[in-house]
């Protein structure tokens, strides 16, 4: 009885290091993989849900818009500026040396049909909505849009010309479904 007790005390079973490493690595590995999968599926719930994604296209009928008029529509919670440009606005946008621009883009590359300019109406500086859509709005020094927050001037192609904004107004993905209808998104 006593002997048995001292025996177990004095002769500890040798540790199989390799077996321990294997157990440790597989256990930790599985825990990390499982925890990671769980964490991702939970974090993913904060990404846009299906009903939000379903709102990500907007169709717009351009036919009521006369030359020189503008229209603002909502797409993904943001304003989209659509301007039916006049000949003089198109030519003033075209007759600019691209090299002089802060963000070098030709007018041609920013439109599908030169008559229609479609841009996201969010200033590339800090996200304000520039003025210039409504009659009576100041359109800035270049006849396009003017952001009242920090004084950025955009031209008739929605390009940044003066002020702190680094980039031109973004062009949303869109296509002409027919001559008069575009689908944004």
């Amino acid at each position: 009885m006593k002997e048995l007790n001292t025996n177990t005390k004095n002769k500890p079973t040798p540790v199989d290091e390799e077996k321990r490493d294997f157990l440790f690595i597989t256990t930790a590995g599985l825990a990390i993989a499982g925890g990671g999968a769980f964490a991702w599926s939970m974090i993913d719930t904060m990404n846009p849900s299906k009903d939000v994604l379903a709102l990500s296209t907007t169709e717009v009928d351009l036919s009521p818009l006369e030359e020189g008029q503008s229209l603002t529509v909502m797409w993904r919670g943001k304003p989209i500026f659509i301007r039916h440009r006049s000949e003089s606005e198109i030519s003033s946008a075209d007759n600019v040396s691209v090299d002089d621009l802060p963000h070098k883009e030709t007018d041609e590359s920013r439109v599908k049909n030169p008559k229609w300019l479609v841009v996201v109406g969010v200033c590339s500086h800090l996200g304000c909505v520039p003025l210039g859509q409504k009659v009576g709005d100041t359109k800035g020094e270049y006849g396009g849009w003017f952001c009242p927050c920090h004084g950025s001037h955009y031209d008739t192609s929605g390009r940044i010309r003066k002020g702190p904004a680094p980039l031109n107004l973004e062009i949303p993905p869109y296509e002409f479904v027919s001559d008069d209808i575009i689908r944004i998104g």
Partner: protein, 416 residues
């Protein structure tokens, strides 16, 4: 804190000297001396803590998608189920998490009841646990109202109406709870706020529960006090590994419920939008309230029924003074052990009749079971404290462990 324990160097040492977090962790999760004979029933404390964290994390994520307004609450839950990425998983984890939390906590309580964990010097530890149970019940009840289905609405109506049993002030209390003249939008919106708030109150009480626990350390299956360092082993790695293994088993069961039978413990009626004009034919609370619901229904008088139902939980506060027997563990108490198991079966019977219609033989069973429920605490416990004789106890935890081990080989008790 002791400076001599601060042996770390480098960045951890620098931080630890100023804010002894590492010493704290070392103290409470690593070196922490723990009785060496804890069985798997001692896993349930850490499991409850982990479940609380799961509930809070999933709850916060759900709250980002849920809208507490009677017009859209039901639809917003359906949106979570259909449109939100993994929303079904998020909701099912939270929904079944409530059930798992109660299973764990009930086992934790029955563990304490069997091994006398509420006795000197752990009375406050036990009472803090009862506070946690009460907070959990309030939180679970209010959470069940949020989906604004039929069971939500009528559950809220029935439970808030319990307070109308109080004479004179009853109706005022109920109107106050509702924020109106029926369960309606003000009720839903305050329940949502409180359902979000109370879990953090639970976290606070859990912290106190742990402080009280670590004052004297865990009880153990023999109920004997720790007498020497030979009776204990460090928490890490022995109990971290044991808890980790138990967590794995628990998560398998939990996941099986979430993935294969997510609505097994719920009621289909709660997928019908709330209708204030139509009560469901068969209205029962969630399973974890059934024993108390059975006590409520067993009493033919409204006020007495309500008071007894509250008393059924509140009596737990008095446990350390109702059972003053000097032996903690039921292992060494031949009579208490039998009454204990009868009480356990009785609790399950109460839960079962709580789910049955309140008529015929079920009422009789509920009454007998209710009488035993209170007799166990108020009559049997005090009497056993005085008259129950126990045999000789092992001299220490080590002696008890070793005697168990060698009894088989030698038929000779090492303990005595």
């Amino acid at each position: 804190m002791n400076n001599q324990e601060n042996k770390q160097t480098g960045i951890t040492g620098w931080i630890d000297k100023r804010l002894p977090v590492f010493t704290f962790i070392n103290h409470n999760l690593r070196d922490y001396p723990t009785p060496k004979n804890l069985n798997y029933f001692w896993n349930f404390g850490s499991l409850a803590g982990i479940t609380l964290v799961i509930m809070i994390v999933t709850g916060i994520l759900l709250a980002m998608q849920y809208t507490a307004n009677t017009d859209i609450a039901f639809d917003s839950v359906e949106r979570i189920m259909r449109d939100v990425n993994n929303g079904w998983l998020l909701r099912y984890i939270h929904m079944n998490g409530a059930s798992m939390f109660f299973i764990i906590v009930y086992i934790h309580i029955f563990r304490g009841l069997y091994y006398g964990s509420y006795k000197y010097p752990r009375e406050i530890l036990w009472m803090l646990g009862v506070v946690i149970l009460l907070l959990m019940m309030a939180t679970a009840f209010m959470g069940y109202v949020l989906p604004w289905g039929q069971m939500s609405f009528w559950g809220a109506t029935v439970i808030t109406n319990l307070f109308s049993a109080f004479p004179v002030i009853g109706d005022y209390i109920v109107t106050f709870l509702w924020g109106g003249f029926s369960v309606d939008n003000p009720t839903l919106s305050r329940f949502f706020v409180l359902h979000y708030l109370l879990p953090f109150a639970i976290v606070g009480v859990v912290a106190l529960h742990l402080v009280a626990l670590h004052q004297f350390g865990s009880n153990n299956p023999t109920g004997l006090d720790v007498k020497s360092s030979g009776d204990t082993i460090p928490f890490h790695p022995y109990y971290t590994v044991k808890d980790y293994f138990g967590l794995g088993v628990f998560l398998i069961i939990y996941a099986a419920l979430v993935f294969f039978a997510p609505n097994f413990l719920g009621h289909p009626d709660n997928y019908i939008p709330a209708n204030p004009l139509q009560t469901p034919a068969h209205i029962v609370p969630e399973w974890y309230f059934l024993p108390f619901y059975a006590i409520l229904r067993a009493v033919p008088d409204k006020l007495t029924g309500v008071l007894l139902m509250f008393a059924a939980v509140l009596v737990l506060f008095l446990l350390p003074w109702l059972d003053k027997h000097k032996v903690r563990s039921a292992t060494f108490r031949p009579f208490y052990k039998q009454f204990y198991w009868l009480f356990f079966i009785n609790a399950i019977v109460l839960g079962w009749v709580g789910a049955m219609p309140a008529e015929g033989v079920y009422v009789l069973i509920a009454r007998i079971a209710s009488v035993y429920y209170f007799s166990f605490f108020l009559i049997i416990m005090p009497l056993l404290s005085r008259f129950e004789k126990v045999g000789e106890l092992p001299s220490s935890i080590s002696a008890a462990v070793l005697s168990k081990k060698f009894d088989k080989d030698t038929n000779e008790s090492y303990a005595k």
